[in-house]
């Protein structure tokens, strides 16, 4: 995963001289999670820039650079720190095109890891996608495989709108095939059916996609054939693919690492009820993180994050097994 992201950055830096990378420890230290390894050496200090610990400041610099015609990539060491930069992200980046009457597009990518890591406690384990997906003007992308990570990041960098690109800290070490074609991209706003099935649809993103696939495997042993859909882009959401699947399976479980209340799962559930109510055989079921700040204690942390047995149980519930 780490290398796929690194490849995407390298290819885009090489492809377009307007692209540059900025963030804490991205250059000399080669990234807190080594996603930016080797980039300073290859592209120099003008294109790969270390910043002070000033999220609001460098996010604002990025927005200004985008207004001036460049294509900045802003790395947050984790998205927990992006909270400090939300004024620039939400008030400037998301709204500039609209408020300038279309004069200033903001082709910027804010990227970094989100969600839980291992025992970094409440302030450093947050899944913030529903925050950013809430605002018109922002696109939100969350890959779950190395291939998706590479293809989607390249598309995000080329996109003319601000994109929130949330990686998952626990998934940096994930291994997977990445197509070797020269310019491999995946369009934003297109969901991926990770597994085809007929009895229930599990909609999962980021960290919960591998868990959903595992759950589907276990359920298959009991004769329950699950479809697993990864929206990949939270906004714009590919609701058509989801609705198609619901029409086929009539049952839905949404698995997510974020809190349930006002979350992306709630939004997807609402859209399903609005567009496919007549096809449902059971209420849409969410499997979300516990509605508490992330505990530090290892045993409690484990309990707070949805796991395979919870998804299995939820599917059985909607399938009336």
């Amino acid at each position: 995963m780490r290398d796929a992201l690194n490849d995407a950055l390298r290819e885009e830096l090489a492809r377009d001289p307007d692209v540059f990378l900025m963030g804490e420890e991205v250059a000399e230290y080669q990234g807190a999670y080594k996603v930016t390894r080797g980039l300073l050496e290859e592209f120099g200090a003008k294109r790969v820039i270390d910043t002070p610990i000033t999220e609001l400041g460098f996010a604002g610099l990025g927005v200004g650079a985008a207004m001036a015609g460049l294509r900045p990539i802003i790395e947050f060491m984790t998205f927990n720190f992006s909270i400090l930069a939300t004024d620039q992200i939400i008030n400037s980046a998301a709204k500039m095109l609209y408020m300038s009457g279309g004069q200033f597009k903001i082709p910027i990518v804010f990227r970094g890891p989100g969600g839980s890591a291992y025992q970094v406690s409440s302030q450093h384990s947050q899944a913030l996608e529903s925050w950013y997906a809430y605002f018109p003007g922002l696109k939100v992308v969350m890959p779950s495989t190395p291939a998706d990570a590479k293809g989607l990041l390249k598309s995000a960098i080329r996109d003319d709108d601000p994109v929130i690109f949330i990686e998952q800290e626990r998934m940096y070490g994930m291994k997977g095939e990445v197509p070797e074609e020269d310019d491999f991209t995946i369009p934003l706003g297109v969901a991926d059916v990770k597994r085809e099935g007929t009895d229930a649809t599990i909609i999962a993103r980021s960290l919960l996609v591998p868990a959903a696939l595992k759950a589907a495997e276990e359920l298959q042993k009991e004769g329950i054939n699950c479809e697993v859909i990864d929206p990949r882009t939270i906004r714009p959401l590919d609701i058509e693919t989801i609705i198609e699947s619901v029409k086929k399976t009539n049952r839905v479980v949404i698995a997510e690492e974020s809190h349930p209340f006002c979350g992306v799962g709630g939004e997807i559930s609402a859209e399903i009820h609005e567009q496919a109510f007549d096809y449902l055989d059971a209420p849409v079921k969410r499997v979300s993180a516990a509605d508490v700040p992330m505990p530090y204690a290892k045993n409690l942390e484990k309990l707070a994050i949805p796991d395979v047995p919870q998804i299995v149980a939820a599917v059985k519930e909607v399938a009336y097994v």
Partner: protein, 437 residues
């Protein structure tokens, strides 16, 4: 342990209920979920179910009396249990309840002061909200998943007859799938054939016109009749055509004639018998329009159109449902013979309940016949001809015959006519049916 039965909330706006009828007497055994009483609510009479098992020890509210929601109306317990405490608390509770219990949602803890602390478990069971979960009183809401509701509507499955297997008795997709599987043994929505019930005709018996019963016409029936007449004339016809594979019927006829060379059973005789059998399955078609009533006939008196030099006449085979093929064949031959000689008496060519017109012998493939009033329908039979058809993915040759039924829409609606025709086709394609039962 003894429990009090309280007046349940059986409609959303109900504030008190009247006991219309106790379905159990004091001393009767009661099992959980069993109907205990009928309660008149502000909207309807609903069944109330027992929420505990035992013996109905005491009826506190008599038939015809009312009680506010939550007031104890009976006590269920073991036959020999001491219920004096419960009785005391029940009578104490009765007057005090009225003001506190209403249509508004009352938290459980507030809703149960009538019941002593001794029965905490039963308290929550007997709170007034219970029967609204769908398994409860008849007329209560049955939860159905959206896809199940849609499938049921499309397949014509009556949700009232489906037992839900989801939580709270919710009817879900698999329940409808099961119901659909049960409902159709062969082709889509083909009416299920009841076993052939052929009352044996008494040897030598002579049958007059069929007995009948007149049923008052429903308002809807009357409106349908009135509207259609203004559009299509006094007998508003509509037509239904089906294609029938005749190989088996033709075989059967041949075999009978081999066994009984004198019988000379014709295909038309077979068709008469099959029509009679199908009419028994669909009495709505064996009927006639009578101004203010619809007349339903007990027997199938089949009019058979016979072409004579002087024109068309339809001698009637009385009670064809009671007669064997061989009897029918002989009778038709005899009647047709006399028809050609103009020797039929009026009662022999009047008052059929259903007619058949067959132009197959003239090589007509398909036609529509005009109904002979007051009969409700006539069946027009075309020629049987070998035709290429597809069976199990292969082109093969089959004897095909087309039959078109004209229906009097004042009596017979499209679906009713179609179901009759389906049965007719089913029997004619499987004529062995005539000899079963």
């Amino acid at each position: 342990m003894a429990t009090q039965v309280v007046m349940p909330k059986l409609s959303p706006t109900m504030e008190e209920g009247q006991v219309a009828r106790w379905l159990k007497k004091e001393g009767d055994k009661v099992s959980m979920g069993e109907p205990l009483a009928e309660i008149d609510t502000d909207k309807a009479t609903m069944e109330m179910q027992a929420l505990s098992a035992g013996v109905l020890r005491k009826v506190l509210v008599k038939e015809g009396e009312s009680a506010p929601l939550g007031q104890p109306i009976a006590i269920i317990g073991e036959p020999d249990e001491d219920i004096s405490e419960l009785l005391k608390s029940a009578t104490a509770a009765a007057p005090a309840k009225e003001a506190t219990e209403g249509a508004t949602t009352v938290p459980e803890s507030d809703a149960t002061p009538a019941i002593e602390q001794k029965q905490p478990a039963e308290v929550s069971q007997s709170t007034p909200e219970v029967p609204t979960d769908g398994r409860g009183a008849s007329g209560g809401r049955t939860p159905v998943s959206p896809i199940a509701a849609r499938m049921a509507a499309e397949a014509g499955v009556d949700l009232g007859r489906v037992q839900g297997s989801g939580p709270g008795g919710r009817i879900i997709k698999r329940d409808i799938e099961a119901a659909m599987k049960e409902a159709k043994p062969s082709s889509a929505a083909a009416p299920k054939l009841r076993p052939m019930a052929m009352p044996k005709a008494q040897p030598g018996a002579v049958y007059g016109p069929s007995a009948y019963r007149d049923e008052p016409m429903s308002e809807m029936r009357r409106t349908i009749a009135r509207r259609l007449v203004t559009s299509l004339g006094p007998v508003p016809h509509f037509f239904l055509t089906t294609e029938i594979e005749m190989d088996r019927a033709a075989d059967m006829r041949q075999q009978i004639n081999t066994l009984y060379p004198d019988a000379k059973v014709s295909l038309n005789d077979v068709i008469i018998k099959v029509v009679a059998a199908a009419l028994l399955q669909h009495p709505q078609v064996n009927a006639s329009f009578q101004d203010k009533t619809v007349r339903y006939y007990e027997h199938a008196d089949i009019g058979v159109a016979v072409a004579t030099e002087n024109g068309l006449i339809t001698p009637v085979v009385r009670a064809a449902d009671m007669k064997s093929l061989i009897e029918i064949a002989a009778e038709v031959r005899e009647l047709a013979g006399r028809a050609r000689e103009r020797k039929l008496k009026p009662e022999e060519y009047m008052g059929a309940t259903f007619s058949i017109s067959n132009l197959g012998m003239f090589g007509i493939d398909e036609f529509t016949a005009v109904i002979n009033p007051p009969e409700a329908a006539i069946l027009a039979i075309g020629a049987m001809t070998p035709k290429p058809v597809v069976r199990e993915g292969e082109v093969t040759i089959r004897q095909i015959m087309r039959a078109t039924m004209s229906c009097d829409h004042r009596v017979v609606d499209g679906a009713v006519g179609a179901q009759f025709l389906q049965t007719f086709k089913q029997i004619l394609e499987n004529p062995l049916y005539l000899f079963l039962g």
